[in-house]
Symmetry: D2
């Protein structure tokens, strides 16, 4: 499985016009979930088939604790309005770049499918915004943390996200849903593809029996 790890660690999925998702570290996996679940009954594995059945049982009955034995750290770059939806998921750990200390780079979201003229207008206005932001800081000595107030919500940010398997599934359930915003759905799908290579049993059963069945929405966001 360590071979698999190394392979995965070089994988990075591009998302939207400027973003990406990369798995930088993980522990546990299907085996850890099975090991932890079996602790409850002091039972030993009876082979592949019964292990898969156990995982399915856990997922269908909502027994989430064993999935907390697998943990992932991702490196993520996404627009700030996507990050805001992301950070609503309280069961996980975020370390984000701060515009209190760093100067923003000229990277911002442009909606797909805009007619060329509108897209130019969008870009032009954003470029002006960044110019104004930079002047406020360099010429007029405004604090960076205050100057950023003029920057767009579509600006790209970067953060590390550490999350366990159970919370990740909750995120995927809400954020791959058709009711979730198109942009965060692109990130959720990229993450689902990556973790499916790391814990293939758990996430294939999750996809087949939890994602397909449910239609959970995600209006709990801004």
């Amino acid at each position: 499985m360590n071979g698999g790890l190394r392979e995965v660690m070089h994988k990075e999925k591009k998302v939207l016009n400027r973003g990406f998702v990369e798995l930088v570290e993980w522990m546990g996996g299907d085996e850890a979930v099975i090991r932890n679940a079996r602790r409850c009954w002091r039972s030993a594995s009876k082979g592949t088939e019964s292990d898969r059945k156990l995982l399915k049982h856990l997922l269908l009955k909502g027994h989430k604790t064993p999935f907390e034995a697998m943990v992932f750290t991702f490196d993520i770059k996404c627009p700030l309005f996507v990050a805001r939806q992301w950070f609503r998921h309280r069961m996980g750990s975020f370390n984000e770049e701060s515009l209190r200390y760093c100067v923003a780079e000229r990277e911002y979201f442009v909606p797909e499918g805009l007619p060329a003229k509108l897209r130019d207008e969008w870009r032009e206005h954003q470029e002006e915004t960044f110019t104004l932001y930079e002047q406020m800081i360099s010429r007029h000595s405004l604090r960076r943390e205050a100057a950023r107030a003029i920057l767009p919500i579509g600006i790209y940010t970067r953060f590390y996200w550490t999350v366990n398997g159970s919370s990740l599934m909750n995120f995927l359930l809400l954020r791959t849903s058709r009711q979730a915003q198109r942009e965060i759905r692109a990130y959720a799908r990229a993450i689902l593809e990556i973790v499916s290579t790391v814990a293939p049993w758990s996430f294939s059963i999750f996809q087949e029996f939890v994602l397909k069945g449910g239609e959970s929405g995600s209006h709990e966001e801004a």
Copy 2:
């Protein structure tokens, strides 16, 4: 104490150029903290003096659980960059207005102390931004949730925040600190003033022995 409640509930503190904080509901208070702490030893109160000593002991030793017996719900209006720092505090509950469904109002942060000319330039650019945003939605039928990407991080947002006394103290410790950003400090101070009338013993001891002593920073934010 219900009289005190009613009085408090009409209190609303204005913060920054367009924001406010209002306490809309609360439960517990000093008595609940004392009651819960005494449960540990099955002990009864021995009067005012010993109750205050107990609260001081709990705060100095970091025994936080009894303070979770008091809970507050605030209605808050603040710039989005302040909300982002706020939402990093995971131990609490947020219900926020969503720009996926609502159209943004023309309310945005303007840094204090900007020279008149710069302030005008700031405002002018922001007004153009809102005009572009509105056109994208009304004329060009761009999804609201995507159009907002052009809006400034300084836009005002509104949310309810439910938080227990222990998590609130952690918020106040980090966000009244000199290392916190000036804008969120204004909100933290307003909240501290309000809760000091609701649970006066806990928060006066907290101010005197925890806030004054510490210098905790708050770089854990974006």
Copy 3:
């Protein structure tokens, strides 16, 4: 509704041979949930019928955050093996009597339905256990915290539990299930009855559409 509160506060439900559940404090209720949910769309209530529909929608879609606006504090007395299952629910606050500092009282669980002879044998052995425990402390100066190691898991303990509506529903879903242990089910049912008088809409919809539909188990316990 304050009238309702006062009435509820005098209510205490007896559970098992020596236990009880009592609601000592609460805030929020149906109105708070509705208010918080409507914040998302900046919408006002359109009357009773649409409010009930909203609550049902939230519960069926798993939108849990608005239910965190209602919070309850219970006073509970239950056998320690029940308390252990209870404390597995991490989203809530516990303040418990400690046998490090207090001397245990002679109150212990006796299984219902034991034949008289066995019940006597059970009691007799337990009484001997308590006598040995007391001698270890008083005659042999063993630390209370170590002497308790001989006490039975069926000993009664007392604690305050502060929990929000969303976490409470999760507790009720798992602990009223037929897969939960009979003893904790008795407590869960008592609590459901009490909160149904405090937030009648939320908990009647919860009972009808969530509890009746699901069959979630609860093996996540010891």
Copy 4:
């Protein structure tokens, strides 16, 4: 560092008369903490010395999030009264053997330092307790989950514990304290020794500047 991992993974520390602690899996480490902390300022490492300074700064200022990038899973065997104190730490994941499904083994805590005569009396009574427990199940068909009510709080239990570095430090701060019960202190010290070989910088700085300085107690337990 993988060499270190393999070495650590074979390490198992015996604690009390029958218990142990074993690290079965981990991710992150000093490097992950440093990487996550530097994300905030978009800064690169400037070498060993500045990395150690950064870790010290984070620990002294209470910036805990970066330490959530390291995660540990332990296999633990301890008396139930110790497990109860352990499970009060809500920020972590527990999977425990359940006496609803398993039959208890005759393994129980015996206080150290008891005179021989008392120790014999203690053991004799406990053996009788187990005999009664076994009869209730095998002869009288009492449910295992109810029969366990007669078992002693000093019975040994086993569980997996997954916890991140920040929550682990909070556990260690409270549970290595002189105010913590002697028995859980033995476990806390064993864990501190183990993790000090896995993330040596973080935990040596933690020991020197946080543990030595503080005197945090731990009455938040039963």
